[in-house]
């Protein structure tokens, strides 16, 4: 089996707090917050990270893999510093998400699912982000941008380059 990774001391404390929220017999319910913690810790959720979470909640690792592979927001491969996800579900498609994606792709010089050579940006598509009345929608890391246009993309990118 993949050798489980070990959380840092600080993450271990946070994991303990997360586990405290659930009664002992429902420890498994902590799987999603712990996977988020793992992703914060290591940038993506590798099999070794899943094994770490499985050990914490006391279940078979494949049960953690079920959850980690179900939610697309858990990165299974290493990603860039910033993850940009363009919503491509129908309402956003109707408001022009295509041009937003193409613009991003051209500016960053990468295609779908790719990461820039300097490791700063990863470009993705996403399913509906629940802001259909304000499309096109772009998710930047954990922040949602609505009514996005190619111009607004430039602004967002400049902002990110600064930060």
């Amino acid at each position: 089996m993949a050798t489980p990774l070990e959380f840092t001391e600080a993450a271990r404390e946070r994991a303990a707090k997360i586990l405290d929220r659930y009664p002992a017999e429902y420890r498994k319910s902590a799987v999603v917050p712990l996977l988020h913690l793992a992703q914060e810790e290591w940038g993506h959720v590798s099999p070794e990270a899943m094994a770490c979470v499985a050990r914490l909640i006391g279940c078979s690792p494949v049960k953690v893999a079920e959850i980690a592979t179900f939610y697309p927001m858990f990165n299974r491969e290493p990603v860039g510093e910033h993850v940009l996800a363009v919503c491509h579900t129908l309402p956003c498609a109707l408001t022009g998400c295509g041009s937003v994606f193409d613009h991003l792709s051209e500016k960053l010089g990468i295609g779908l699912g790719e990461t820039t050579a300097d490791g700063r940006f990863t470009l993705r598509k996403s399913e509906c982000l629940a802001a259909c009345d304000r499309g096109p929608v772009l998710l930047v890391n954990r922040r949602l941008h609505t009514h996005v246009s190619p111009e607004k993309v430039d602004e967002i990118l400049t902002e990110l380059e600064k930060g």
């Binding site: 089996m1 899943m50 078979s60 690792p61 494949v62 049960k63 893999a65 079920e66 179900f70």
Partner: protein, 536 residues
């Protein structure tokens, strides 16, 4: 009991029973995929939807597998809504299915095939490209044909509920969902191959049965697993005198719906053994093949020579926990009536490992199927007693029912048996024991036996032969009778049912047992432990 209505007809069924099972009791088949009577209902496949009256006069769709019968329930099994739903579910399930029935090992016993035929629409409206995920090696015994899987999760639930090992899960989402193991954690629990039995389609297959003859060619033989003292009920699939597959046969009191992998695949060892094709006799220090009459002459004169020597009972008899109750019983009679009340022992290989699953399925440490029955029949003393008898010269000749391919002799045993003046052995191959014998009679393996065995719980169960012994070998009961005859003792007819009748009359705890009573689910012995009446 509860009175329920199905399609305007009233029926009386067991209260609290699952609707699918209750309907099955009535001979009504509710099509289903994810429900299995050995697992908790899961309600995920939606094939079992029927209509139930949820308010007076108002029907709603429910999953039959999660309904527990209560008095007064009212169902519609064949309303347009129900039939339509089935058609729809079948269409969904077949969207990505490869329809590779012509070379699928499940063909002929596939629920998807059957339900497609009964409830499908007959043609596909799906014009898009099908997903073709590669097949996966899940563990030592099991391969997953990923394309065929309908995600009913019987297999994952088996590993969660029955073995408690949880090696299987469903990874990914939506149409990409598939059954998987975690990397480096294969499906290798001790009951893993059961997942192939319960997979309703051809997704999970045992490597052992891959690309074997089509399932409808086999003769099915209901018998017992000879792998341990649990005595799991099995069905063998046999073609041209060869076993191709063993499946567990349901017996709630013994093995439920399951069997262990070791037991399931043990037929190979027996079937591939280098069998004795003729009796053997020691001539000038070497074992030579001889004819049956020649071997009989040798055996009888050898035994008579021992009996003519000093001591009260210079012969000993050793029964076998691989042999049936009837064979051990006949051995006891042969000993008592022809060898002058010999000392009696029971041959058994050393214990292996016991294991109990989360659900309570038990693999016994005793890797022979009939220790309890053989003891009951023989009233056998300890194996040490026999060795002691040989050591102090009170046992000078021995008659042993062997026949366990897994049995090897310890050096102590080899030393003891070498000291014997005369040794007669029944065996199936040239075992350690046979190598020491003066006469070896080629007997039958458990898959060739007809009779009963008593498992560790004291349940007497029937064994049926998949095929006869090889032409040069004989059933052990027949050999014993032949020896008896040559020594002036009539051991009766050859029918094991008749011998059982005799056992019922003579062995404590077996009173009243008949073939009919034992049936295909076995019957408990009345008394506990070995009987007083048995033994010489």
């Amino acid at each position: 009991m509860a009175t329920i209505t199905i399609d305007e007809q009233q029926y009386t069924v067991e209260e609290g029973r699952n609707l699918i099972d209750a309907a099955a009791d009535l001979g009504i088949d509710i099509p289903h995929f994810c429900y299995h009577p050995g697992l908790a209902p899961d309600g995920n496949c939606r094939m079992c939807l029927t209509e139930m009256e949820i308010r007076p006069g108002q029907f709603g769709i429910v999953t039959s597998c999660t309904i527990r019968i209560k008095d007064g329930m009212n169902f519609r099994f064949n309303s347009p809504a129900v039939l339509d739903n089935r058609k729809g579910i079948m269409e969904f399930l077949l969207i990505n299915h490869p329809l590779d029935c012509p070379w699928c090992d499940q063909a002929g016993e596939c629920k998807l095939q059957d339900h497609s035929f009964d409830h499908g629409r007959g043609h596909s409206r799906f014009v898009e490209t099908k997903r073709v995920p590669p097949k996966k090696d899940l563990g030592p015994h099991i391969t997953l044909y990923t394309t065929r899987c309908i995600l009913c999760q019987r297999c994952t639930r088996f590993c969660d509920e029955i073995t408690g090992t949880s090696e299987l899960g469903v990874v990914q989402m939506g149409s990409k969902s598939e059954i998987a193991t975690f990397e480096g954690v294969p499906l290798d629990n001790r009951m893993s191959a059961n997942v192939a039995d319960i997979c309703p389609v051809g997704a999970l297959v045992t490597k052992d049965f891959l690309y074997k003859p089509r399932i409808w060619h086999y003769d099915k033989v209901d018998t017992l697993c000879p792998g341990c003292a649990t005595g799991c009920n099995t069905t063998l699939e046999v073609l041209h005198q060869k076993i191709y597959r063993t499946k567990p046969r349901h017996n709630e009191a013994v093995n439920g719906y399951w069997m262990c992998d070791e037991g399931r695949f043990c037929y190979h060892g027996w079937q591939d053994a280098d069998r004795l094709q003729a009796p053997l006799k020691r001539v000038d220090g070497e074992l030579r093949q001889v004819t049956w009459p020649d071997a009989m002459d040798a055996a009888v004169s050898g035994i008579q020579a021992v009996l003519a020597g000093e001591g009260d009972s210079a012969m000993g008899v050793v029964g076998s926990s691989m042999a049936t109750n009837e064979e051990n019983y006949l051995l006891r009679r042969l000993g008592a009536e022809a060898f002058g009340s010999p000392r009696t022992g029971l041959d058994r290989k050393p214990d292996g490992e016991a294991w109990t699953s989360k659900s309570g399925f038990h693999i016994d440490a005793d890797k022979t199927p009939n220790t309890r029955g053989a003891r009951d029949m023989l009233g056998a003393g300890s194996p040490e007693d026999i060795l002691r008898g040989i050591g102090d010269g009170t046992i000078r000749g021995l008659y042993v029912l062997g026949g366990d391919i897994g049995r090897t002799l310890s050096s102590e045993e080899t030393d003891a048996f070498s000291k014997l003046e005369f040794l007669v052995v029944h065996d199936v191959h040239r075992s350690d024991l046979a190598e020491l014998a003066d006469v070896v009679f080629p007997g039958a393996i458990p898959f060739e036996k007809n009779g009963t065995m008593t498992n560790a719980q004291g349940r007497v169960q029937r064994l049926s032969p998949a095929f006869p012994p090889p032409s040069g070998a004989r059933e052990d009961g027949a050999i014993l009778r032949y020896v008896g005859q040559r020594m002036g003792v009539d051991l009766g007819g050859t029918d094991p049912a008749g011998v059982l009748e005799e056992i019922a009359g003579n062995v404590d705890g077996y009173a009243g047992l008949t073939y009919d009573l034992i049936g295909d689910q076995g019957a408990m012995t009345g008394g506990e432990g070995p009987s007083e009446a048995a033994g010489g």
